[in-house]
Amino acid sequence: MGRYFRRKLLIYLLTFFAAVSINWMIPRLMPGDPIRALIGRAALRAEAADKVAEYFSRIYGLDQPAWRQYVNFWTSLFKGDLGISIYLSPKPVTQVIRDSIPFDLGLLIPAILCSWIVGNKFGAFAARRKRLDGIVLPIWYVFTATPYMWLAILLAYVFGVLLGIFPIAGAYSFAISPSLSISFILNYLKHWFLPFLSLFIVQLGGWAIGMRNMIIYELEADYSRYMESLGAPRKLIRRYAFRNAMLPQITGLALQLGVIVAGAVGTQVVFSYPGIGYLLLQAVMYKDYFLIQGCFLFIVIGVLIANFVIDVIYVIVDPRVRHGMGGETA
């Protein structure tokens, strides 16, 4: 046990270090100059622009040699300081993330969880029911196979513009200020629904397909056959198969939740919904090193946690793994 955890911990630390370093490096390899991109937004007179650019490079420490910047990065990281966003100057990166991530989480967690739950149920249900499998399930494949943004735009146009049932922009009406009232919550939900629906629809099929395949496999397993031989009702057999088929799906879920911090760029663009995803895209476009680093730091942590959770969940949920044999080749 101890050995295992020590080793895992070391590996995770190494991964963390490598991934964060790579993500530190990547934006710096991009062409273009973040400060120029920033002040380029105001049509400044030329000398002014030069002067300001120089000052801001200094402020952001971008005038220092790369290795120094790298050292600075790690030292401030240990102090919990992710720096100041350039693109959203002068907001600290931590605050940028803190302000926008709730929107992503509010959208993605329900979407992922709902699609996961419904998709799994549906996939399990469809397996072995020829009708459903042959006719209804394919409809979900089509949704899953549809380019997300395109689908979302159609949804927005049909339900938002044509039918006018749902608003097409923002996290809540531009005409209200947030409060804890029923009307605000309703309003929020109304804005939330289309983005949620689009994510839900698109992800559902993937889970369903995975579940269907797994269930079919499990229903063919010896233990299912034996249960059948003992006259166990289909319901019970299916329940067992479902549980066992669930394991790989849990991995998938954990991985999805791991990258949740990356946000949903597509949704945010299409529905003008606030969140980190679009900011991250903008940060990349504007070479906002600090925001990029910050976001990726969280993504890295998310993925690592997800992996860790998978490791642990497997041990908890799948007794086989808990006691399994470690293999060996000479």
Binding site: P31, R36, K51, V52, V161, G170, S272
Partner: protein, 537 residues
């Protein structure tokens, strides 16, 4: 819930969550920071070419080296403190104490400021008249009593959340997708100029895509839009609630000129004859119709916007003599005469020494209107035998290529905005050469004569029209003969209003106000537009 009839929804000038209200960092500041909250000494009306006294009631040159500014009385900061000449002086002095301030180069030629009551006397070392006049409506005046105690960092990089200005609106609140301004009912101009902005509240929304903007306009959820929206002419035919400046083409006012920069350090763009041939080859008319559905105008050969401030110097004779029009035959002729011939028979001309020409035209990927435009330009060029391709690097790479002089040809308009002086325009077009060209003259056109002329122009008193005109004519001649960059079309002052809730938007039928809500430009008419609006009955 905000009462709809009192609220104006606007968009097009805010592309990310509001994070900054510091007028000293205009590139980051939320649109409206300057204009709605902080105010300039003068407003400027590009349509009438007129400086409108604002925080200053008057300003004039008492001699060639001294400019006197009368500061308005009875103006109050929104915290109740009166706004005085001291605040104005402080604003200028700030750039002296902190040379990193964006307008600090002023102090290279400004000597000192003398304050006498409400009068400020500016003594110059060597007055740069045109630059000074441009500054008069572009500097936000900030309150001394709130800023003098701040650290350098706070001033130059702070967010200035809760800005205290003198303007018509308070920065009320914000969220990641909106900025909300609320009317300052105590505004000095209401009393002194009888101006009342109609909307009690302005909600400036963050929208990432055209689609959403268009959808919101159609639904009447967006009142003022400064987006470039394709399809407006089509939609105007079916939706009567969409308002534009002109009822018909070009629908939009012109705001800046798109130029085709040519890298004069690379062959064959180092040859003025070749550059002129390019000018003749391009069919801007086609771009105007196809790409912009006639929402823009084709530029004149000088690239001057159709505004009085600039057109007063337009020398018809020079243009007549040296100008160009779309004429592929002429382009071919020019090329042939200069020795550019198709020697190897590939259908494209080669350099006189026989080496092949292969040029690329760049615009940033994703700038779709420009992307389509350079496709047309590339095919125009190929039609006259110049082998050119349209390519679309990312913005970062585009910028690098421009700054480092690696490109062949590129479209750019970063400094050609409407202003009260041609100096801003030429300063951008012929910006001095340095190691990297970050601020203009991307083609690295090197002509001491034209640099000297520009400087001379800047030093000519603002109202010495005659001298100025002479200088300009010379510049125009050189420009047309040398063609370092080709003016193509005017990008519009994109503006669509929705008349579902508000009416009396600015238009060709009046009221005449420049309908601009882009960051840093409310003082050109956007603010006054608000005072014209009326709730729809």
């Amino acid at each position: 819930t905000f009462t709809r009839g009192e609220t104006l929804y606007a968009g097009g000038g805010l592309w990310g969550p509001p994070t900054n209200w510091n007028p000293i960092t205009p590139w980051s500041a939320v649109t409206g920071t300057f204009g709605l909250v902080y105010e300039p000494l003068f407003m400027y009306d590009p349509l009438e070419d007129e400086l409108i006294p604002w925080l200053a009631t008057s300003g004039e040159w008492v001699d060639l080296n001294t400019f006197v500014l009368e500061i308005r009385e009875g103006v109050k900061w929104t915290d109740g403190t009166p706004l005085t000449a001291e605040d104005v002086k402080f604003t200028f002095d700030l750039a002296k104490t902190h040379p990193e301030t964006y307008y600090s180069s002023l102090w290279d030629w400004l000597d000192r400021i003398e304050k006498e009551g409400n009068t400020l006397k500016f003594h110059f070392v060597e007055p740069l008249y045109h630059e000074w006049h441009n500054n008069l409506y572009n500097l936000p005046i900030i309150p001394k009593h709130l800023w003098e105690g701040r650290t350098k960092e706070a001033i130059l990089t702070g967010a200035n959340e809760r800005p205290v200005g003198s303007g018509a609106y308070f920065a009320h609140s914000y969220a990641s997708d909106r900025m909300i301004y609320v009317r300052n009912d105590d505004w000095w101009a209401t009393e002194q100029l009888d101006l009342v902005p109609a909307p009690r509240r302005i909600v400036y929304v963050v929208i990432f895509s055209n689609n959403v903007a268009l959808g919101m306009i159609l639904q009447g959820e967006l009142d003022v839009s400064n987006f470039f929206l394709p399809g407006v002419p089509t939609l105007k035919r079916t939706y009567e609630d969409i308002h534009t400046w002109f009822d018909d083409a070009p629908y939009m006012l012109s705001d800046n000129t798109a130029f085709l920069y040519m890298n004069t350090t690379k062959k064959p763009m180092d040859d003025p004859v070749f550059r002129r041939a390019v000018a003749f080859a391009i069919n801007s008319e086609d771009i105007k119709t196809r790409v912009f559905e006639d929402q823009v105008l084709v530029s004149n050969p000088l690239g001057y916007l159709p505004i009085d401030a600039w057109m007063q110097y337009y020398d018809e004779d020079v243009v007549e003599a040296y100008g160009f029009t779309y004429d592929p035959a002429e382009a071919k002729k020019i090329l042939a005469e200069a020795g550019y011939r198709d020697i190897n028979g590939d259908g494209f001309v080669q350099l006189p020494d026989g080496s092949p020409i292969r040029l690329s035209i760049i615009v940033p990927f994703g700038w779709t209107d420009w992307m389509e435009s350079i496709r047309i330009i590339a095919s125009n060029l190929r039609a006259v035998g110049i082998n050119a391709d349209a390519t679309f690097p990312d913005f970062g790479r585009y910028q690098d290529e421009l700054f480092d002089g690696e490109f062949h040809m590129a479209i750019n308009n970063f400094g050609s905005n409407a202003s009260n002086t041609l100096w801003t325009f030429y300063d951008w077009l012929f910006y001095e050469l340095g190691e990297r060209q970050t601020s203009g003259n991307f083609g690295r056109y090197d002509n001491p004569e034209i640099f000297a002329l520009l400087d001379q122009f800047n030093r000519t008193p603002f109202d010495d029209h005659e001298t100025s005109a002479q200088i300009m004519s010379k510049m125009q001649e050189i420009f047309l003969k040398e063609m370092p960059a080709v003016p193509l079309w005017y990008n519009g002052m994109w503006f669509q209003g929705s008349t579902q809730v508000w009416t009396d938007y600015p238009s060709e039928h009046g009221p005449y106000h420049y309908p601009c809500t882009w960051g840093g430009r409310w003082q050109e008419g956007g603010l006054l537009m608000l005072t014209d609006l009326k709730p729809r009955q």
